[in-house]
């Protein structure tokens, strides 16, 4: 489904990704782990098309097409979804309007008919249950006054509504207590299908108890320095990252 080849990217003058190569097949869950500043969030942002990052080398092929040639909205329309580490607050735009705009934009791009507000509310009912959210949250401005846990649940709600083929979860576990973590993880698991794939970016092993990965990759200084199965995550939990990180990187960070 996704082939990343020797990907380089920078933010401003700073090189962040320095040659990432990764293959993700349909039905798989990949965990990207690594210390702070290793580039794991950047990888997620670059795949979603954040214009703040400049790709300076390599290629990304998604379902046979050149992902890097697409605008962020086109990537979303093709089924790419990024759950933000820090979801954005948008005063003045209701959650319901935002979700329906997104849902209809993606439907329109796929040649499907748009849905009206009442139909959409029906559709939302089951999705809200999935992340244990009250319908009242739909009438509030996007993420305004939401707690950390509510923001993350709102991200998974959007994912449930948009039903992506490739879901990128950027530190979705950060700032969550164990109850919120369970809700978020069970939402993600409920959305897993044989024809979609998930990339989980995380600093901690804890989330992987709930979203069990098929592969674990460790990023350091913009490169994958080790790959393995889920047992690698447990090893990292026990030993930390230091044994994998080269000393040159310590200077750079």
């Amino acid at each position: 489904m996704l082939q990343i080849k020797d990907l380089y990217a920078k933010a401003g003058d700073r090189d962040i990704l320095r040659g990432i190569t990764l293959d993700v097949a349909a039905g798989e869950v990949h965990a990207i782990m690594g210390p702070n500043g290793s580039g794991k969030s950047t990888l997620a942002q670059v795949l979603a098309g954040n214009p703040a990052y400049e790709v300076t080398g390599g290629s990304v092929t998604y379902q046979g097409i050149d992902l890097l040639a697409l605008q962020p909205e086109e990537r979303a329309q093709q089924g790419v979804f990024l759950a933000f580490q820090y979801p954005i607050e948008i005063p003045g735009v209701s959650n319901a309007y935002f979700l329906r705009s997104a849902f209809n934009s993606i439907r329109a791009a796929r040649g499907q008919e748009e849905v009206d507000p009442l139909e959409f509310l029906d559709y939302m009912e089951k999705k809200l249950e999935l992340v244990d959210m009250d319908v009242e949250m739909l009438s509030r401005s996007v993420n305004m006054g939401f707690s950390g846990g509510e923001k993350k649940r709102n991200e998974i709600l959007q994912m449930a509504v948009l039903e992506p083929r490739l879901a990128l979860l950027d530190e979705t576990d950060s700032g969550l207590d164990i109850d919120a973590l369970r809700i978020v993880a069970s939402g993600v698991n409920a959305l897993r299908r044989p024809d979609n794939a998930t990339i989980v970016v995380t600093h901690y092993q804890r989330l992987l108890n709930y979203i069990v990965p098929d592969f674990v990759h460790v990023l350091a200084h913009g490169k994958i320095v080790k790959s393995g199965d889920k047992s690698l995550a447990l090893e990292l939990e026990a030993k930390g990252y230091d044994w994998l990180v080269e000393p040159q990187g310590a200077l750079a960070s």
Binding site: A48, G49, N50, P51, A52, Q71, P72, E73, R75, A76, Q77, F81, L82, F84, P87, I88, E89, I90, P91, G92, V93, Y97, F98, S101, A102, S105, I106, A109, Q158, L162
Partner: protein, 438 residues
């Protein structure tokens, strides 16, 4: 560049104005004398520092002589908020058009006639107020208006009358207004303990260049609440100068909203004097400009008596090479203790070349007051834009939605639902396909 106006005044004095009552002739003469003495303001004048009127001063405008007679009722529908049953007074190219107007549908206790009829047949409806609520002393355009005022709406709301239905005054210009000037003068007298809404719309049915020079005089009597919306959707080539002068008696509330999106150059002055205790003034507005448009708002809230409050929120959205100006003055007289004033001006710039000059001014001479003000200038939030795009929303739709969201809270202050939803729609559509470059 005052000479053509002085010549026009001589013509007016020798013709139509000859039959007018003495007090009106005096008002006109004083107006032209002040205009001749003041001349057009230059940027050296502090109140006009950011707005050059040379394009008005150097052009020659012919006084508009009357209705074109070509405006169909249906042509006004887009400006009527979907409310065909609201009473309307319609002025075409500066002249009252009885065939398009429906004063008969006004609620009992509300009287609305055109100024030219009032001057001729019922001067008692205007004489006690006209030219007295508004000053021309240091204001060129008001002085010019006093000299030439030809038509406009005269509205009287009787004491204790409460009308749930707004009265809509529409000034419409069409192709026949090209190179013409209309000096419009309106008078609104809200009787004590009355409650009513008056809407003034300045709209265009074409893209001709003309000059609207309007003055609205407002008296809000004791205990009355007057809601006064001004909607400026002039032609993109028009010049528009409008001064609203409100005088408030004890325990009155004046609620103003100014929506400005048209004209090549527009200047709206809103002055209110809280001349009795326990008054409130709410002055809100939204201005939007694009391309080479220039949009200027000046507000002056004078707290003359104790225990009054004022609330002001103005928002601006500027794109292309547009230039916005906001100058909000709050003056607190030495005896106006316990004044509670709050003023905010927020601006959103959608392009590199768009510009805003914002100048909040507090002049406080009492010691027991609570007054705050703040102004901001910002651009669209890049992260919010990316967030929306990452959910499949197009750049254009995301820009529109974020721009609308910026203005949403000030539009929400419009209490008349039909007006609010129409202006929300107009705001959402304002920058579609424009030169916005977030």
């Amino acid at each position: 560049m005052t000479a053509p106006y002085l010549a026009d005044f001589t013509t007016l004095s020798n013709n139509g104005a000859r039959a007018e009552p003495d007090w009106l002739r005096t008002t006109r003469r004083q107006g032209i004398e002040r205009f001749a003495a003041l001349g057009f303001p230059t940027p050296r004048n502090e109140d006009w520092h950011f707005t050059s009127v040379s394009s008005i001063a150097e052009a020659t405008f012919t006084p508009l002589r009357g209705a074109s007679g070509q405006v169909a009722k249906s042509a006004l529908e887009p400006f009527q908020f979907g409310q065909s049953d609201w009473p309307v007074l319609v002025f075409v190219n500066g002249k009252y058009d009885a065939s398009l107007s429906t004063p008969a549908s006004l609620a009992t206790g509300i009287r609305a006639i055109d100024l030219s009829t009032a001057m001729r047949d019922e001067p008692s409806l205007i004489e006690p107020w006209l030219g007295k609520l508004s000053t021309s002393e240091d204001r060129t355009f008001s002085a010019l208006n006093a000299a030439f005022m030809s038509d406009g709406a005269v509205i009287h709301i009787a004491p204790y009358i409460e009308s749930p239905i707004p009265l809509h005054v529409i000034f419409v210009s069409d192709a026949n207004a090209a190179k013409g000037v209309a000096h419009l003068r309106n008078l609104i007298v809200a009787g004590h303990h009355s409650k009513a809404t008056v809407i003034e719309s300045y709209v265009s049915l074409g893209d001709s260049g003309y000059f609207t020079n309007a003055v609205t005089e407002v008296q809000v009597e004791q205990g009355a609440t007057l809601t006064h919306y001004k909607i400026q959707r002039e032609s993109q080539r028009a010049f528009h100068v409008h001064t609203i002068d409100a005088q408030q008696s004890r325990d009155s509330h004046y609620v103003s909203f100014s929506f400005a999106t048209g004209a090549a150059l527009s200047r709206t002055n809103i002055y209110t004097n809280l001349a009795g205790e326990g008054c409130g003034a709410t002055l809100n507005g939204l201005y939007m400009a694009d391309d080479e448009q220039h949009v200027d708002h000046q507000t002056n809230i004078v707290h003359s008596q104790p225990n009054c409050f004022s609330r002001e929120i103005y928002k601006g959205i500027l794109s292309g090479s547009a230039h916005g100006v906001f100058n909000g003055k709050v003056y607190v007289h030495p005896i106006a203790q316990k004044t509670d004033g709050k003023q905010t001006n927020n601006n959103l710039l959608l392009s590199e070349r768009a510009r805003i000059d914002t100048k909040p001014q507090l002049e406080i001479f009492a010691d027991d007051v609570r007054c705050t003000h703040g102004a901001t200038v910002g651009r669209l939030d890049e992260m919010a834009l990316f967030y929306m795009r990452s959910r499949g929303v197009s750049t254009d739709a995301a820009t529109k939605l974020l721009t609308y969201a910026f203005a949403a809270d000030v539009l929400e202050t419009i209490e008349v639902e039909a007006v609010r939803s129409e202006l929300e729609r107009a705001t959402l559509e304002r920058f579609t396909g424009s030169s916005a470059t977030p």
